[in-house]
C-alpha cells in the first residue's frame, strides 16, 4: 500500500480505507505476473539453495515498531545479509534509478523491515518481468528518509474520515484503474480546481443487460454461458462475461448455480412483478465503503443537510421537465414555462423538505397538464392526469412501467457505489420504498422515462394492441412490455454530452457519475450536489 500511497494518496485511501477495488488490464496483468512467484508460505523457508544463498518466496514480514507488514516476493539470504526482490510486470523504466519512486519506496519498506528483524540489508532488487532485467536499488539515507516520511503521513491519512484530494491534471490518472470511482477531474471541477476535464473511463457499458419477461422461462448456467430456455428450447444465451445485469419480470425460474455465478461476478439480479413493480434484488457481497453509508445516514438524519441536497434534486427535476416541454410542446404557453422556472428557483430558497414537497407538487401539476400536448395527434391515446395503481390509461401504464425500470437502474447504481438505497434525503423511508433511489431518480424522470414514453407513442411503436384495457385499469401485453424495455434500453445507452463536464457518455454512466457526486456531497468533499441538467 505504500507503493499506492506514494503514487497517489487518494488511490491508497479509496482502496485501503474505503475497500474499493477495480481491475484494469494492468492490475490483472500484474496479478498474473505474480502467480509465478507467489506461493503460500509465511516465514523464511528454504526454497532453493544456490551455493550459499537461500531463496525464499512470498515471505511475509512485519514489525510493530515500524507499524508495517510486507510480503516479499523473493528473499535472497546469504549469511546475515538479506536482499528483497520485488517482481514488476512492466518494462524497466529509462530513468536515473531504472525504477519509479513508488516501487523504490515499497522495496525500501521491505528493507527496513528486514533490518528491524536483525538482517543486514543495504539494498534490494526490482525484477522487471517484461524486460527480464534485475535492477539493484541501494537504500540510501535519502530513500530511507522518504520511506519513513511516507509511512508516517500514511498513518495520519488513515485516521481522516475523508479521502485526500484528487491529483490535479495528473498523467497518472490515465493508467489508474480507480479513475471511474475517484472521478479526479470531476471532483476537482466541483471544487473549482483544475481546468480541463478528461473522460478517464469508457463512455458506456460494454456489457449487455438481460430482461426475462415472458411466462415459463428458465434461466440456467451452462459452460460459461447463461442460457434461457422455454418449453424445451433455448431462446437466448450469452457469455457470462458479457452480462451486466439480469432483470426477471414475473415468474421465471433461475437455477442456484446460475444465481451463484452471477453473484460471484457482481452481476445484480433484479426481481419484478408482471406489472413492473420492483420486488427486490439478489446481490453478492455488500460494498465495503461503510464510511459512505455513515455519511449518508448522518445527512439523512439532519434536516438541513438533507434539504440542501434534496432541493438540488427537485430543482433538477423541474428544470428538466421544463426543457422537455419546451422542446416537445410547441404550443406551451410561455407563462407555464416561466412558472416552472420560478418554481425551480423557489426550490433553491426552500429551507425544509415540506416546502419542497409543495413546490414539486405545483410543478408536477403544470407539467402533467401539458403532457398530453407532447403526444402527437396520431397517438390514439389521451393523457388527462397522472394516475397509478392501477393505471387508468395506456400512457399512465407506460409511465409507471418505465419509472420501474429507471428505479431499478438507479437502485443498481447506488448499491454499486456503496449507498443504502432505502434511506434517502427527500423521500421518507417508509413502506419499503427505496427512498434514495427515488431521490436520485427525480432529475432523470423527465429526460429518460417520460421521454421514452412520449417517443414510443409518437412514433407509433406502442399501439392499442400492446395494452389490455379494462374498466378497472390498463396494463401491458407481453409484447408491449418488450417494446417499452427496448425503447428504454435504447435511451439509457444513448450518449449525450455532459453539460458541466463536456464529455460524451451514456445516460447509464451519467447516473453512476451523479451517484458518486452525491456521495461526495454527503461526505462533504464537495460543497453541494449539482443535478444533471439537460440543455
Amino acid at each position: 500500500m505504500v507503493n499506492e500511497y506514494v503514487y497517489c494518496p487518494r488511490l491508497c485511501y479509496i482502496e485501503w480505507v474505503q475497500g474499493e477495488f477495480k481491475d484494469s488490464a494492468d492490475t490483472v496483468e500484474g496479478r498474473l505476473g505474480h502467480k509465478r512467484v507467489d506461493r503460500p508460505g509465511t516465514s523464511v523457508q528454504e526454497d532453493a539453495m544456490d551455493g550459499t544463498v537461500i531463496h525464499s518466496r512470498s515471505v511475509t514480514i512485519g514489525s510493530t515498531n515500524l507499524g508495517a507488514i510486507a510480503k516479499i516476493d523473493l528473499l535472497e539470504i546469504e549469511g546475515e545479509v538479506a536482499t528483497p526482490v520485488d517482481y514488476k510486470k512492466g518494462k524497466m523504466p529509462d530513468n536515473e534509478f531504472n525504477a519509479y519512486l513508488p516501487e523504490m519506496v515499497q522495496l525500501c519498506v521491505q528493507g527496513l523491515l528486514l533490518i528491524e528483524n536483525g538482517f543486514k540489508t543495504t539494498g534490494g532488487v526490482i525484477y522487471y518481468i517484461a524486460s527480464k532485467k534485475r535492477v539493484t536499488i541501494s537504500f540510501t539515507k535519502e530513500l530511507i528518509d522518504k520511506t519513513k516520511e511516507a509511512l508516517a503521513s500514511m498513518k495520519n491519512m488513515i485516521d481522516e474520515d475523508r479521502p485526500p484530494p484528487p491529483l490535479v491534471d495528473s498523467p497518472r490518472c490515465y493508467g489508474c484503474s480507480l479513475a471511474s470511482i475517484c472521478l479526479p477531474d470531476e471532483t476537482n471541477a466541483m471544487k473549482g480546481v483544475g481546468e480541463e476535464i478528461r473522460r478517464l473511463y469508457p463512455s458506456r457499458d460494454d456489457q449487455t443487460p438481460i430482461y426475462v419477461i415472458g411466462e415459463g422461462h428458465s434461466i440456467r448456467k451452462s459452460e460459461g454461458r447463461i442460457e434461457i430456455w422455454k418449453e424445451g428450447e433455448m431462446v437466448a444465451d450469452r457469455p457470462l462475461n458479457d452480462i451486466s445485469q439480469l432483470s426477471v419480470y414475473g415468474s421465471a425460474n433461475i437455477t442456484i448455480p446460475a444465481m451463484v455465478e452471477l453473484m460471484g461476478r457482481g452481476v445484480p439480479i433484479g426481481f419484478f412483478s408482471h406489472s413492473g413493480w420492483f420486488n427486490g434484488y439478489a446481490i453478492g457481497t455488500f460494498n465495503k465503503n461503510i464510511g459512505l453509508r455513515m455519511a449518508q445516514f448522518k445527512t439523512g438524519f439532519d434536516g438541513t443537510l438533507s434539504n440542501n441536497i434534496a432541493k438540488m434534486m427537485i430543482y433538477g427535476k423541474i428544470k428538466n421537465c421544463r426543457t422537455l416541454l419546451r422542446r416537445n410542446d410547441k404550443e406551451c404557453p410561455s407563462e407555464s414555462l416561466e412558472t416552472l422556472d420560478l418554481l425551480a428557483e423557489r426550490c433553491l430558497e426552500s429551507k425544509d423538505n415540506n416546502s419542497l414537497l409543495g413546490i414539486e407538487g405545483a410543478a408536477a401539476q403544470i407539467y402533467f397538464s401539458r403532457f398530453n400536448n407532447m403526444l402527437k395527434s396520431n397517438c390514439p391515446f389521451d393523457f388527462n392526469e397522472r394516475n397509478k395503481r392501477p393505471a387508468g390509461d395506456p400512457v399512465n401504464a407506460a409511465l409507471s412501467y418505465s419509472y420501474g425500470m429507471l428505479v431499478k437502474d438507479v437502485f443498481n447504481c447506488l448499491l454499486l457505489v456503496g449507498f443504502d438505497p432505502y434511506f434517502g434525503v427527500y423521500h421518507r423511508p417508509k413502506h419499503g420504498k427505496p427512498a434514495l433511489a427515488l431521490d436520485l431518480m427525480e432529475e432523470f424522470r423527465p429526460i429518460i422515462a417520460d421521454s421514452i414514453v412520449m417517443t414510443a407513442f409518437n412514433n407509433g411503436e406502442l399501439k392499442e394492441s400492446d395494452f389490455i384495457i379494462t374498466k378497472i385499469g390498463t396494463s401491458f401485453s407481453q409484447n408491449g412490455k418488450k417494446k417499452l424495455i427496448a425503447a428504454y434500453e435504447r435511451r439509457i445507452n444513448t450518449e449525450v454530452t455532459h453539460p458541466v463536464f463536456g464529455y460524451t457518455v451514456s445516460y447509464r454512466r451519467i447516473i453512476e457519475v451523479q451517484a458518486r457526486l452525491l456521495g461526495r456531497a454527503m461526505t462533504r468533499e464537495i460543497d453541494s450536489y449539482q443535478p444533471f441538467l439537460t440543455r
Partner: protein, 98 residues
Amino acid sequence: MGGLTFYLVSYDIKDEKRLRNVHRIMREFGVRLHYSVFRCDLTKQGKMILISKLEEVINHDADRIMIVDLGPSRQYDEMKIEFIGQKPEENYVNSIIV
C-alpha cells in the same frame, strides 16, 4: 463508443480433454464462428483474463492458440470479415429481452 476490441481466437488443441476445457473457456468469452474459431469482443482486461485462463489449461508444448486483433468492435465489421456460403447467426444486441 465503448472500449471493446474485436479479437478472433482460433485454436489447435491436441488432446480431447484439453480441447473441451478450452472450448468451455471460449464460450465464456465469445461467440463461435467456426469449429475452433471464436469471435470475442473484449476489453483489454477481458483479454488478459482470457489469456490467463487459457494458459492454465493448455499444454504449452503441444497446443497453439492464435489471437488476432481486428480493431475496435462493431466498426467496419463487413470489411474485416467476409463469409461465403452459410453466415453465422449474428446475435449482437444491445440488450436481450425475452
